[in-house]
Symmetry: C2
Subunit: 848 residues, 2 copies
């Protein structure tokens, strides 16, 4: 024998007993579960399991002696063969029942089951064997109206015609055929790709389960029972029972199916077989308790006796998942920590937003990027002002724009959902949409946007006009015609309880990005630990303020500029006072003005004309100023601290507004404001701004006689700021990483322009993930690590955090915990997800 040939192994064919060596990793989850049921002394029919290795050998042509398997069972029984993979989500071939059926068996069964029933069983076996094992044309073996004996004869004839051999009568030959067919199906390319898409490894194994079938006289049948609702997770006995059925046939909708519990809608198992029902309930409860999970129980009743054939996790909606986990913990079955770990954080997103009802018809007009989750229905409007008008009339509307800009914010607030032609996951519309919790589909270039003519052309040519009703599904990226049924979001007690438990173990803070009082209210509702990023630019785009802001931009002298800013001061102060009141003692981090000034100026002729009139200046001057301020690469232009240094009066005003609002807090625990300088690249920038902010604080203290505290820090958004963190940190109480911009600059890639090729890039595997979606640990992450390490060395007490889109994702939270950051900050609507993810990460090393 050559050295590199594998040793021929003994096939691993194991009878399921309490002590047999069966494991999920070698025999699959179903096999292990059956062994657990056996250990619980539940009435499980005799079962034999084949290990992954054995099944793989079968697929490769090494069939073990099927007779040996049969020898584990009483002669003459019928067998059922089912798959058992490591994870039930990975799929697998369908079950094969009634293996062992033959003319001889049919005749024998006719005595107990009756002629017709016995013939029908044989017929069904021939049909499924022909199609699934012999791979014959399913059309030849369809169910017919013919009597069972006529149909059986036809099926046997068809089999023999096609296979040029009679239908196998030897149970061992049948069993071998079934095992080989299931083993090979698992190795098929499609099956492999499907399970790999669900996260299965390339070499995922399949176990097979051979179980004796229960077939009896009289009160025989099968069914499925579970003790909790798949929809809500509430306690509720659900399932069906069907006499003279096998497997899951009871769920097939036959007319003589029984409810389980007594039910006004029809007859029930409880009434028909009260003792069996009671036993079944006890078995189910025992399984729930001892398997520590809500189980869906597959059972048969044979002559009044209950057999448990299989148990699987109750399938569940995300909402039910939360409640099931909480109820198991409340019933003392699992510890709270485990309940916290049982819910996938991202699954919470669905609970926070309306959804298109699972069964509703979807008339798809076109698709785009699913940029902000949730669904909403409304009439189409094409301008922000039309959206505001609709909202004023109390009408739901969908704001449709080529792309959005800060001028559209009021309209986005007013709209039920937003749809744009351009942009990707990180476009303005997407970021703001997620922040507001407004469903949003962006980059919907399948549709043609004729915004001037106020219409959309669907991909099939249908025309959607201003005022027509459509539905945006921000969770799938679909634009739907009309108003499919939606289901409401739920923040029920189970949700709150689970997150409360999560908070008990969580060891990193979760703040919210919140720009407005509405955002702050949402942040409170989701119990954020504070505001991690308040973007002040949104405060300048409300109608009355925008005009003053523009006056400021057009000011010819420092005095004129200061006059305009003086008008903005009280408005800003009120903004901050509102935020402080809502956040009541929790920290609030305010970013000084960041965007380039041209974002505040109108881009089209009509609005420029209006502005010229408002400012009482010639139109030519307005257009010239707009042109002057236009930038080649606004992302890399005159913004952030550069603006603060060029026009220091702006930051002076903002600092004054913050301090005056701080003083104006009445009662309760006061907020200590945090002032954040954006787009820093060098120490000296921080030094200059800090000097002025400190001077403003001194001035306010002197003038008012009031004392107050504040913190000053920077947003680290440029690679250079990260590299120079050691210089910068000594001037800062905190450094917060703006990973959106940092990702843009590290990749040299604008999030607004990336949409054009990002999906192709990810599909081709050029990037493993969209770095605007999942933090790029290797590149951007290294800059974060460098900055954290250097910043801490220079200023050991510095507070570190990330804000920006990545803040809420579990991967980023994991990164931040490992790096020892103090908090993450994310959209208010992602706060619950982040709280849960953080808790799971804290628990991970304890559980494993």
């Amino acid at each position: 024998m050559r050295k590199d040939e594998p040793m021929p192994q003994q096939p691993d064919i194991t009878l399921v007993t309490p002590t047999a060596p069966i494991a999920v990793a070698t025999h699959g989850g179903r096999a292990k579960c059956l062994q657990r049921l056996v250990r619980l002394d539940l009435p499980v029919p005799r079962t034999v399991v084949l290990s992954f290795d054995t099944v793989l050998e079968i697929a490769n042509g090494q069939m073990p002696d099927a007779g040996m398997i049969l020898s584990q069972f009483e002669p003459g029984v019928l067998l059922c063969v089912r798959p058992s993979s490591e994870d039930p989500d990975w799929g697998g071939p369908g079950a094969m029942m009634n293996v062992g059926m033959s003319a001889e068996r049919r005749d024998a069964l006719a005595a107990t089951l009756g002629e017709e029933e016995a013939t029908r069983l044989y017929l069904r076996f021939v049909q499924s064997y022909a199609v699934h094992v012999a791979r014959l044309d399913p059309d030849e073996f369809e169910e017919t109206e013919a009597a069972p004996d006529v149909a059986l004869a036809a099926a046997l004839r068809a089999y023999e015609d096609e296979m040029e051999t009679p239908f196998p009568q030897d149970p061992a030959e049948q069993l071998a055929g079934v095992l080989r067919s299931m083993a090979r199906a698992w190795q098929g390319t499609t099956a492999r790709l499907l399970r790999q898409a669900k996260g299965a490894p390339a070499d995922a194994g399949l176990g097979l389960i051979v179980q004796q079938m229960a077939l009896g006289q009289g009160d025989c049948g099968s069914g499925v029972m579970q003790l909790a609702s798949s929809e809500t997770g509430l306690e509720q006995i659900t399932g069906r029972y069907l006499g003279r059925s096998q497997g899951r046939e009871a769920l097939g909708g036959a007319s003589d199916v029984l409810y389980l519990e007594r039910d006004p809608r029809g007859p029930s198992l409880e009434e028909a077989l009260p003792e069996a029902f009671e036993v079944l309930k006890q078995h189910s409860a025992l399984m729930r308790h001892r398997l520590r999970e809500e189980m869906q129980v597959e059972f048969t009743i044979q002559n009044g006796e209950v057999f448990i054939l299989d148990g699987v996790r109750v399938p569940r909606s995300n909402r039910a998942g939360v409640r099931i986990a909480v109820r198991l913990a409340e019933d003392g079955i699992i510890p709270r920590e485990e309940a916290v770990c049982r819910v996938e954080p991202r699954a919470l997103a669905e609970l926070l937003h309306r959804q298109v009802a699972p069964g509703a018809e979807r008339d798809v007009l076109g698709r785009g990027v699913a940029a902000s989750p949730g669904a909403a229905t409304g009439m189409v409007v094409f301008t922000a002002s039309a959206a505001q008008a609709a909202a004023a009339r109390g009408e739901a509307c969908i704001l449709v724009r080529r792309e959005t800009s800060p001028e559209d914010i009021r309209g986005m607030h007013a709209a039920s959902a937003v749809l744009t032609e351009r942009g990707g996951m990180s476009s303005h519309a997407a970021v703001i949409g997620r922040g507001l919790g407004v469903p949003c589909v962006v980059g919907a270039s399948e549709l043609r946007f004729q915004t001037r003519r106020k219409q959309l052309i669907a991909r099939d040519g249908r025309v959607v006009r201003d005022g027509d009703t459509i539905t945006i599904d921000g969770s799938t990226g679909e634009v739907l015609a009309g108003a499919p049924r939606l289901i409401e979001p739920v923040l029920d007690d189970a949700f709150r309880k689970l997150l409360g438990w999560a908070d008990e173990v969580r060891d990193i803070k979760v703040r919210a990005n919140a720009d407005t009082p509405e955002d702050a209210e949402t942040a409170r509702m989701f119990e954020a630990d504070g505001i991690g990023l308040c973007r002040t630019e949104h405060m300048f785009v409300e109608a009355d303020r925008l005009t003053v802001m523009r006056e400021m931009i057009f000011a010819d002298t420092t005095e004129e500029r200061r006059d305009a800013l003086d008008l903005l001061l009280p408005m800003q102060r009120d903004d901050f006072r509102d935020l402080f009141r809502i956040m009541a003692g929790k920290p609030v981090c305010i970013r000084l003005l960041d965007p380039p000034l041209h974002e505040f100026l109108p881009t089209n002729r009509v609005d420029q004309q209006a502005l010229a009139e408002a400012l009482d200046r010639p139109l030519s001057e307005v257009t010239r100023r707009v042109e002057e301020l236009t930038e080649y690469n606004p992302m890399l232009g005159m913004r952030g601290v550069r603006l603060g240094i060029a026009l220091p009066e702006i930051y002076d005003m903002q600092a004054r507004a913050i301090f005056e609002a701080t003083i104006a807090q009445d009662g309760g625990e006061p907020v200590v404001p945090e002032i954040m300088i954006p787009l820093v690249t060098a120490k000296r920038e921080v030094e200059l701004v800090k000097t002025r902010v400190d001077a403003v604080a001194a001035e306010v203290r002197t003038r008012t006689g009031a004392d107050f505290d504040y913190k000053l820090g920077v947003m680290v958004e440029t690679p250079r700021a990260a590299l120079r963190a050691g210089d910068i940190a000594p001037y800062c109480a905190f450094m917060s990483f703006g990973t959106n911009d940092l990702t843009q600059m590290t990749y040299g890639l604008s999030r607004d322009d990336a949409g054009r090729f990002m999906s192709a890039y990810v599909q081709q595997g050029v990037f493993p993930e969209d770095p605007f979606h999942t933090l790029d640990r290797d590149g951007v992450g290294e800059l974060l690590t460098i900055a954290a390490e250097r910043g801490r060395r220079a200023a050991p007490d510095i507070v570190l955090s990330i804000c920006g889109e990545h803040g809420g994702s579990p991967e980023s939270i994991e990164f931040c915990r490992e790096a020892g950051f103090d908090y993450v900050s994310c959209s208010p609507f992602r706060v619950p997800i982040a709280r849960l993810a953080a808790a799971q990460l804290a628990l991970k090393p304890k559980i494993v």
Copy 2:
């Protein structure tokens, strides 16, 4: 005495003798030079020097005993006091002559010099003492038409009126006043700022020199002699002599001044005092030889005897500087290495371009950024095509644009100079201008550009119309009216010799960025070691190609795209063949297409209309495509390798053109082409492009049966590529750092938009330098170091270099040498500068 009070020091007043302790660092350069002259046994009048410390104490009010100084001289002599700073460029107070002059001395001198001359001497001393020491109103002490004795009486009276004390008659009092006045002048704020601007440290010291004056009867006078021309550096005795004059009066333009050598223009010292002339020539030659420098000698002749009062470095033009250094080396006075080190690399820039003649009148219309050095005169044109038309007619023209784009390149080639309204040192116009060696002024917002009306409005309101003649001075940033006199560039034998010597010691290669055959010719002329960056996009904007390129962009299918590219292939191949021929065996690094496609499309309606006609497509389709391709931040968009992956046919075509051109080389040493992938961020990008390029190479080899070699590498322009260099390097033969883009991304700052605030930022000290001008060692530099280290660890033989604007600057070369890079690449016109700078850096540790 308190401990922290400084020890009172003995004043350091030293007689200049061969062995006296005099050093440049303590007494200044002039003092040290005089000691050297004494050591050479030259006839230097008795001289005493005061150290920096002593002069500082004088400024602080601690005057040493002036009598002690006087005691070093014979009684009754007149003294001259001159400054002696560490570096002559740092300035200093003017010399004071005739200290010790008084009524009594006047009377004594009248006997030897005559009444009038003696009176005149006294008068001049009173005048300069009153103005420079007593700080009286200069108007009161102007030269008058009056007879000397009348003027003297008036001056003495004016002094006494103002000072309320008679003019001091005691030489010690006079000397003390002069020393105090000069010491304090050095500490004045203006003087301090002026010298700091020239690089002097804050505590730069001043020494003072007190020298006995030569005053005699008969053939007495003074003058200045040098043995080389300040203009050309050629051997030529220059200078003047004036009888009965002092100091440098001979250079003042008096009518009875003498030439030194026999001269057809007038009488000479050689004729008047042949022996003294001969002695003077010998002294000058001795000084040149022993002081190892061309010296300007200040001398007096007293009764036929020559005295050497002072020697300073011959002032020199940059051109003369080169020749002087070369001649000193050729004469064996200094080693070649020292000659190489004596020329400031940046000074060469002036030699490579025409300049406005130093004395020419400058009628300034407005100023902008001096973006590409040199001066040019021509008629104003406002479009690239007008520039080409003018060039076709053989007329020099200045291309005036708001800003330039790749479409303007042909026009820029055709123009003598370029002027733009927008942009900074790194704008398109500036970069291309420097590359082409075309003088360029950008960001000239002092002027109003009315390009549609085809006129410029000067800052004083004058109108410059299409066709008017102006001059652009790209070295100063000035736009001048008319045609001031220009002087020609010189690449003379001295220049070539010096750079040849530089190459002998240089240990880092210098390549040129060259896109066209013209650029390559320039690179050869300046003896570049190869082409480090050939940007292929410039090859697509020539009229005939642009149309095909646009067809490619509008192609609906891969086949259509490939058809268009097939038309471009032979043109590209010819481009490369030309480059290879010109570079004859030197390496040529070709960057694959980099800019976003929209740069190739017209932006205005008229051109779009024309394009629609040319492509036979509706205008709406053209505008839609232009709109679709428009980007928010083109710098961070769909460009570089992203384009190469999205539309792989483009790089396929370019690779094919490169390989076919490689094969087509006939005779001579063949060029091994280097193919560079732009804007890389991840390993997989390189892998994908490399696979296709290798496949194209295999295809060309199979089809032609010819073999050839090539190298593939990447341009590292994104921070991420630098951080991930370890992953990327194994796929690359070389990595070249594109420091322009890397700086933009590291700072989050677009070079096109930075102009708006960069000068203010540098002035405020926010950034010590414009990082687009001087490589930012702390931020960008660290990324380079990280990448080099990781790249080398993964691929020890990898070739490292920088290309881009920083490539030619001495600071970057220093950085690259330290980091062990293989070459730098820069504009062809900077190659000589880089060669010299690199040589100096190689010599630095040896010389010190």
